[in-house]
């Protein structure tokens, strides 16, 4: 069988790619992609630990179902914000959006 560390490292690299995108990219949509990557990496980590428990159990899977649902809601709200911002400010570059500063 596949050792646990393989899954952990894949999840960790996915998380690292998400951190990179979140800190470097300026396009609103790319930031949303990065957040989705972060959530997927975290989900994969949780599921790997849940599967490799000493006593196998189903407890990890409902939590990931909830997490996926939250991620879908967050994506819907973020896309609505992107549409509104592109309509009112004519840009999606978050470095140029000074209007959100108080």
């Amino acid at each position: 069988m596949i050792p646990l560390i393989y899954y952990l490292i894949v999840a960790l690299i996915l998380f690292g790619i998400g951190i990179y995108g979140l800190s470097v990219k300026r396009n609103a949509m790319r930031l949303l992609f990065s957040i989705e990557m972060l959530m997927n990496g975290a989900n994969l980590n949780v599921l790997a630990f849940a599967r490799y428990l000493y006593v196998p159990g189903i407890q990890g899977q409902p939590i990931i179902l909830f997490s996926i649902t939250i991620a879908a809601v967050e994506a819907a709200v973020a896309l609505a914000i992107v549409i509104v911002v592109s309509r009112t400010c004519e840009t999606v570059d978050f470095h140029e959006l000074k209007r959100l500063k108080g």
Binding site: I17, N27, R30, L44, P62, A72, A75, L79
Partner: protein, 178 residues
């Protein structure tokens, strides 16, 4: 000298993991945003494959139907709605920002890898005890153990979707002026 061959499960795992990570990088670095969105879909598919390898078939189905069926389609519609000139089409250039971001990611990955390798977690293998991974067990667990969380989640879903609709609604006055 003993040569250890990779087992079939390991080969499948490595292929799926490589596709997932490469698709994640392409999603961030593709020049056209549409290609990035499609590549993000490939990444979600790879994650679903890893879920299947972890004996979570229902979760894999859920991941595909929610992420590829809803989120990626929603992203594609948003890209189509917003005029094309607004999206930034910047070519990939090595700037100090990019170097700092890559360094941050590598330092995060490296430090947590050191943490992992200093624990016995790297050699753990799943227990072979027979266990019922069926949807019936998941449903019982959700309804019995996490019933309150499920109802709160329904409220969060409702509030989020109403908020998204209210945000994206075109105001009547705005429509008249256009």
């Amino acid at each position: 000298m003993q040569i250890s061959y990779l087992s079939t499960a390991e080969i499948v795992f490595i292929l799926i993991a490589a596709v997932t990570l490469i698709a994640a990088i392409i999603a961030l670095e593709a020049k056209e945003i549409v290609h990035g969105a499609l590549s993000l879909g490939v990444m979600f598919l790879g994650i679903a494959g890893l879920y299947i390898l972890l004996d979570a078939n229902y979760l894999a189905m859920f991941q595909i139907s929610v992420y590829i069926g809803a989120v990626v389609v929603l992203i594609l519609f948003t890209i189509m709605i917003v005029p094309r000139e607004i999206w930034l089409h910047r070519p990939f250039r090595i700037t100090p920002e990019v170097i700092a971001g890559i360094l941050a990611a590598i330092m995060l990955i490296g430090s947590i890898c050191v943490l992992y390798l200093s624990t016995p977690a790297w050699s753990l293998t799943p227990s072979e005890a027979p266990f019922d991974w069926s949807v019936r067990r998941i449903a019982q667990s959700i309804v019995i153990e996490y019933g309150i969380a499920l109802q709160i989640l329904a409220l969060v879903l409702f509030a989020g979707l109403m908020g998204a609709l209210t945000l994206a609604k075109v105001e009547e006055k705005e429509e008249e002026t256009k």
